[in-house]
Symmetry: C2
Subunit: 190 residues, 2 copies
């Protein structure tokens, strides 16, 4: 199973490393490997707070993906108007089992038309902006699922989105083991 | 104020990106900039789950730091026996306001002798190993502070350690604003 995360200059670090960690940790608790890939329009990627990351593939040579996660951050203001990124998302969506956004990554999906007719959420400061798309119903929950498209609220909510997908893809026992492994205590908090 | 995070091959991604995000986010909510630096013995650094990161400086050319965070991950098994890393930590400790470890990063501090006579914690699977150092008192809390040395439990506990330091260094209002910004809800959960 291949899980891709789109990154771009100005992406918020924890928006993408949160899901990266949760999905990657599955490989420590079960036998069937999850292949993680960072996909980016250019390299290296300079994240918003200065972290410099080498992506694994470009938009052009990215292999088939089963799940794709789109994080946010200030850099989304450019990314959401980048035709190469929008085309990539629209083309890839057809072959995906799941598409997810974290934080203001929802605005990138919105511009790509991939939230049309759906419920979605985003960072609390961007809920009004997301509501400006008349075909999108904003629901200010931590994670919103509508069909095979999931969206998370701000930054750390991406960790919860990843857990929701791990439960669905690998089962509750695997999700519990990952939760224990990264000591997030998602399932032990009441 | 300069906050450094030591990284090395095999470092666990969220161990260092969690604190990186929390400390960096301070710059979005207050005027006095926090300079974040990733310090590494070599470049690029390949983290345990495959993330490839370009550090900002080497052990040799790292500027003066006020706070230094040491994450863990499988790569700590080599890092904790690397004389260059251990010397770096011992030398830098003298000038630090705070030293912190995340997850099994505590074992690196232990090998450097920097936890001697102190209480500390680590990832739950490494508590017994940490207890094998006769001069260290293991306390299995989420964050343990002993003087100016703090240690966190596994992976996501590094986020809580960073919040504890943000409170101390920048005040509760800044910590609350960062918490709201990254929607971690540390202070709103009961």
């Amino acid at each position: 199973m291949r899980i891709g995360i789109l990154i771009f200059d100005g992406v918020e670090e924890l928006d993408f490393v949160g899901p990266w960690e949760v999905f990657s940790y599955v490989n420590k608790v079960q036998a069937h490997p999850t292949r993680m890939l960072l996909v980016a329009p250019s390299a290296p990627v300079q994240a918003y707070n200065g972290l410099r990351v080498l992506p694994d593939c470009t938009l052009g040579d990215c292999p088939r993906l089963d799940t794709l996660i789109v994080p946010g951050g200030k850099g989304r203001l450019q990314a959401m108007h980048d035709p190469m990124i929008l085309d990539f998302l629209r083309e890839r969506y057809e072959g995906l089992q799941f598409l997810g956004s974290v934080c203001t990554g929802a605005l990138i999906l919105a511009e790509a038309g991939l939230l049309d007719g759906r419920c979605a959420t985003t960072h609390h400061t961007a809920l009004d902006e997301l509501g400006g798309y008349p075909s999108i119903t904003v629901r200010p929950d931590r994670v919103v699922r509508d069909g095979n498209v999931l969206s998370a609220a701000g930054v750390t909510a991406g960790i919860d989105l990843a857990f929701q997908l791990v439960e669905e893809l690998f089962g509750t026992d695997v999700a519990l083991a990952v939760d224990r492994g990264i000591e997030f205590d998602r399932y032990t908090k009441t």
